[in-house]
Symmetry: D2
Subunit: 331 residues, 4 copies
């Protein structure tokens, strides 16, 4: 288990579920295998794309175990341990601290309104509890009531050694640049900055970040690896061309209009439907209380895949509409 | 134990902690006793005021057990089981379903972005799991990324029997009125509507709601009982006078300027400092990563108490500044 | 021209337009006459309900002149002079300063981001320019990018004599109470506080405000006068009954679903359609670029009027759908 | 007057004011001359940076005349005509339509809440009024209550010929990419897309936009020209180096902490103080009700200029603190 900070394409792996809403460990193994085969540099289990808010503690343990088993030490595995405040996060940390993971990923506290000193203290206390564990801060203000780590917060924690990296999903390239320039100013060369914005990875790499955590990487991991490699080789125009193709592929998250859905169930449902169509997982179910994509939606997802050059697998299970939460029937 | 929906003054009881950050069960018992003595009509354990986002599952169990023991069947006890999505809430429900509680209180899912059908399904699935348990919906959009139950959502769930009541902390009296009129239109007379806005209870009772869930009720439960009784007796001017006194008392939540604090730690720190000063609990600590009120802040809290006619207890422990999270030292 | 601050029911009068989008002065006179007949205590020209953002300077001058002529000194007339910043507001003030108006109404600056000292200075400079003119602050954060006058801002300006009153459309009764109690604490008895929330006027009067500025008062001015009189006479239950009827009447602003519309054009279109149906104005047109209500929408408005006890006028012009901006044709 | 859409570096020129708050036409001429000398490709008068919300109609006319006179046909001049709704914008358009300008720049309506069809109609009506005039849409949601033109809105208006370009200040590079790819898909090759985000111009040019509208270009126009030229020549690393220097220079907008200021007066005050220090304008005053930067703030601005390689002019007027609005004295 390496504590070298993770760089490159780190895919926030989906958590495959079966029609009963339980973790489908075989599909998790299969999907991690796909990611390793595609050459990604790491996986991140229990991120937002991994449906962590929808999984019980027992399910989370299964998902982590399945992912670690499949990765088998070939690529580093990060684990999300976000929760509403420090004591709860510490419980999640304790559950994974002795596993061969490459680090944990933590958001600011959410639900209750906090402040900059409290957000900093949150990360300090986690680091104090398990100092040997690498901690990555996860910035995603819209998901945590607007709570945000400023560049000053991030770099203070980096200097103290409380965090080794940042995943920034703010969607602001100006903010990424502020992090990158401040890192340089403070000579924090080992501190890792990853973007969570999968639609402008070429820009982020131009700015100087170290990698990307793309939810869409579940669908087309090889595309993100090509994009990353091209940019690393200095060929930004090739990176841009790959990014533009992936941008069009991302259109799948706007499908799901057969019925009203939340943004989360629409995007996660599309990712899962796409991976299922590509043969990566057995079922496309998302967790309760999510509305499920319908068959026509899935056909639209497949059409977008084809336009982006991804051919559905002939072995993909033609799963009938799944409805773990009884949503389709109940409404 | 009756499943008759709870009406009147239902205090969202604070969770007393000791300087190690652990649940102080003796203080919980003492505080519940104060509330019973003051004549409140119920207590609500593990609400936002009860610091549920800051407590581990084990701590939550202790808090519930202590409160139930102290209430001893004299007043109904509601328990908060909010979490990010349905499967996690169901785990919390399972932990309390066999206890002598009067019901559970649940917010909309948070962190992930959901939609109206998904929010409805969230409540339906909880009800389906334990039909004999009374479920109250808890509306507090700023805490859950803006997710909100419309009047149509609330009343549909009420008609189905999925929920027996609503705690609305939206701060909008127009919204309370919309609920009340729609309840009348649909003849849902048994459905209970409680306001979580402790500063306009007289208005809410004029509008026709059935009670209030006031965080400030931890400090002055008798005041809220007098306010409620006056309004029920038709004396709105007396209710208003009591409300105005309580409004001034609420100023304690604006103290806490010795150092930067989040809104949550400022308000909860003030409630706890006030209850400690009044002899209700042993320590004023709030949970990590909260910044703690300083001694000068506490003196300001006591001054506001006195102005509102509440005399500090001579037996209140002159607790030195507590710092369970090492925050004061660490910054 | 009286400088006695305006109290009671102050209707923010709609600006009637003809199918060419020009100010219909005859209809303005007719509508003001309706309001005077109903016993309202004042009118407010060029408020949000008066479509001030949609009117040219020339049109504003016509609207003010028509309203003043119709009021004929019988009731006070306030005039809105809101604009993006002080120099522009001063131009609007200069245009009306010599007319027999009872005061001007001003929001915080908008478009550019300002701060508390700048908002205060905005009002001070306006007062300094025309000290004899009564200035009312208009609080409506959602319309002005969230800019807000705190109670401290309002009362500082009141103490200096820069403003004589406040129209608060924040929708928060807790905020109204804060204003009322702070006014009492500072003995600013002459300072007038009006609510702009037409759905909870009974609550606001219980709290202690001095009146209401109800857009819906264009439709049913007599209802608001009855509500106000009942509350002033101490009969809050009668006030509530009237308020509940008016609440149901307010449903007209949710009509307008034949086609996508903004919240503004939906509400203003409904107010105008209702007043037209009641015989108050000749046309229901709203200003460009507003989408217009369709005929079916108007039929729905009339149905709601009837349910609320308001009988359409047999003399109402059966105006065909008007489309001053060519919107219906163009899309 | 050229109708060729403007590309490259288009500086939203500040409106220099004198200590009485009046337009300083000589300074406007001097500043425009600086911009022409630096090789910028156009100027935009009466943008947000040009303080349009703070200027009367008469002042706007002076600013436009001075800028046009100074530009003298050497570079195209765009003019901002934003206002709350269509009729008012048409008045502003009429005021400039016969001048030798290269086009007008218009935001979505603001203050009142509108909708997508209404925003589209707003632009259509402006184009219909003066078809020969080039209209640029200006996207800046935080300034206009969140109103936003979707890519679908923008491209529909482009296809109709209602607008010839877009200035996008949303701060989202993903959004810029969406515009660029949709433009390509619809073969709208002549439609111009400019970014208003001056901190990530290298990214925007990589994405494929046609230019930038940088407020900071008032301070260092030559830097933005070098950045643009490098990117156009395919040397993105040189573009990045220049951008990084300009990013550090942008720190001047965070100065202004001697006293509470709004974001607008802090940024505009810094731009003006910097240009004054560089000899471009006579006074650094910003319009009422803005708080003015103090002397210590100005010294900090000059220090940042030096760090970014910009040497203050020995001829810069050592203007004492100006205070057109009496703010410094009054508070």
């Amino acid at each position: 288990m390496s504590q070298e900070p993770v760089r490159g394409v780190v895919v926030p792996v989906i958590t495959p579920l079966d029609p009963d809403g339980e973790v489908d460990e075989a599909s998790m193994a299969s999907q991690v295998e796909r990611l390793v085969d595609a050459g990604v540099h790491g996986v991140f289990v229990l991120g937002t794309t991994g449906e962590f808010p929808f999984l019980t503690d027992a399910q989370r343990a299964l998902a982590v175990r399945a992912a670690l088993g499949a990765a088998a030490g070939r690529i580093p595995v990060l684990v999300g341990v976000a929760d509403t405040a420090t004591p709860r996060v510490l419980d999640h940390v304790a559950a994974v601290a002795d596993l061969p993971i490459a680090g944990v990923v933590v958001t600011a506290p959410f639900y209750a309104a906090t402040s900059s000193p409290e957000i900093r203290q949150h990360f300090r206390l986690i680091h104090r509890e398990v100092p040997r564990l690498a901690v990555y801060a996860y910035e995603n203000p819209p998901r945590v009531n607007g709570a945000s780590l400023s560049t000053a917060d991030v770099m203070a924690l980096a200097e103290e050694g409380a965090i080794v990296g940042l995943k920034d999903s703010s969607g602001s390239d100006a903010r990424l640049r502020q992090h990158v320039l401040e890192r340089r100013r403070r000579s924090l060369d080992d501190f890792v900055i990853l973007t969570g914005s999968e639609l402008t990875v070429d820009c982020a790499l131009l700015i100087g970040v170290d990698g990307v955590v793309p939810g869409l990487g579940n669908v087309d991991p090889a595309g993100f690896v090509r994009l990353y490699d091209a940019a690393r080789a200095g060929d930004l125009l090739a990176a841009r061309a790959e990014q533009e193709r992936l941008f069009e592929l991302f259109d799948i998250v706007t499908i799901g209009t057969e019925q009203p859905m939340g943004g989360s169930s629409r995007a996660l449902g599309a990712f899962k439907a796409a991976v299922q169509a590509l043969g990566g997982i057995a079922h496309r179910c998302t967790a309760a209380p999510a509305v499920q994509l319908g068959d026509a939606d899935v056909a639209s997802v497949v059409a977008v895949l084809r336009r982006a050059g991804l051919e559905p697998s002939p072995h993909a299970a033609p799963t009938a509409v799944t409805d773990p939460a009884g949503l389709l029937a109940a409404r």
